[in-house]
Point group: C2
Chain length 221, copies 2
DNA sequence: ACTTGTAACTTAACGTCGATAACTTATCAA
DNA sequence: TTGATAAGTTATCGACGTTAAGTTACAAGT
């Protein structure tokens, strides 16, 4: 039993980072290293060094290396859900909300390439992330790996709004959502896994992909 | 200097696979293991075991583990280039050729998911594959890692044909090619990394994505 | 005040990985 | 027969993720 109950969170040893718990310190150090060096290149020992403890100490707080990254992914995708929630709440016409959400999604992914790669690209990632990665149904928002799912669900709801606003789609809503998400996903995947490739201007690709997807999916007047 | 020149290929020891050279045996064994277990899970020692030699022996034929995979990717993507070449040679209208090439590309990727993942999705893939993976310029077809490049170049040439046939594009040719490739890439990536996800009908997604991309990129009369 | 329990560590080590160095054997041209 | 060379081998390196087992700090119970 974890006894974070008596004098909550202040009971421990707390030699180092006075303001944080060990768990938070580990996540902070791991995030810094994952972002700078990449997932594979970041070693458990290196994280432990930065935190200032021995390597096995990390296993007191996380089951294994994957669990550390998983926790970071959740943390990060929470931000995306938050951002998309804000856009949803604006009173903009639904098609404009779709555009903004699409752009937000892409920007977010490019700002967090490691987390995005681990969640959606890496094949040998924890099954949980992939299985529940963007399932529109049966989401438990408190389970790790489901933040991305919530984001996808929001995108999908937007297509219903567009149709309800009187603009017909070339596809059923679920197919339309999948196609648009996949095209944005492809853009992001390419830019992330081959950032050094001489793509044409990045901003043009982003807005271009959104234009292409919208024009290809919704019948404009 | 490699002296495969005197009595070509038959000079060696040749204890085992009589019909093959060691190099081919290694590639065969590696391919089997990569496809069954994945890149990371396949070890040098395991490949060597299957071939029937010691692990360091592999380093006589390949610089490192990456080089083995690079050779395999090239081999596979050669088939794709071949298929797309056939489609190119048909006298079909350019937009129909584009559609068929797009479909061929997707089908190929879904038929060879492991190779596709290794070449375009896996983050720890050899830099060369990513760098030269689909570069439209400066292609040396005899250098490893350029087969995918040739395929992309073919796709790009098709857009020039479309424009020359009098159908204007919403984007410059290079951007158009990148966008269409990226959207197909996204479709493929999603289906490969999350095959168990309840996507709407697969064939509908493929033809739907092609329709969406074409409608989004080329101004139809 | 002294024991006891336990959370939070440590050091040591295991097994495996990719890769290299250094030695050995087989083959064949001279 | 020799001796160069191709084609291996065994032994080993350093680094990895992870586990086992021992140690220290500290709060509560008596």
């Amino acid at each position: 039993m974890k006894s974070e109950l008596s004098t909550p969170g202040v009971g421990s040893r707390k030699k180092r980072g006075e303001g944080h718990t060990r768990r938070e310190e580990i996540l902070l150090a791991a995030k810094k290293l994952f972002l700078r060096e990449g997932y594979e290149a970041t070693t458990i020992r290196r994280i432990a060094d930065v935190v200032g403890v021995s390597a096995p100490a990390l296993y007191l707080y996380f089951k294994d290396k994957e669990a550390i990254m998983l926790a970071l992914c959740d943390e990060t995708f929470g931000i995306l859900v938050e951002r998309m929630g804000k856009i949803e709440k604006t009173g903009l016409p639904p098609i404009e909300r779709l555009r903004q959400c699409g752009e937000a999604y892409v920007r977010f992914a490019l700002d967090n390439p490691q987390e995005y790669w681990l969640t959606f690209l890496s094949g040998n990632t924890p099954k949980k992330v992939k299985d529940k990665g963007h399932k529109p149904e049966a989401i438990d928002p408190n389970e790790p790996g489901s933040a991305g799912a919530t984001a996808f669900a929001k995108l999908m709801g937007m297509f219903r709004d567009i149709e309800n606003a009187g603009m017909p789609l070339y596809f059923p809503v679920d197919t339309a959502a999948e196609l648009v998400w996949m095209s944005l996903h492809g853009l992001v995947a390419a830019l992330i896994t081959s950032p050094e490739f001489p793509w044409t201007k990045r901003d043009a690709l982003i807005s271009g992909m959104i234009d292409m997807a919208v024009r290809g999916v919704v019948r404009l007047p």
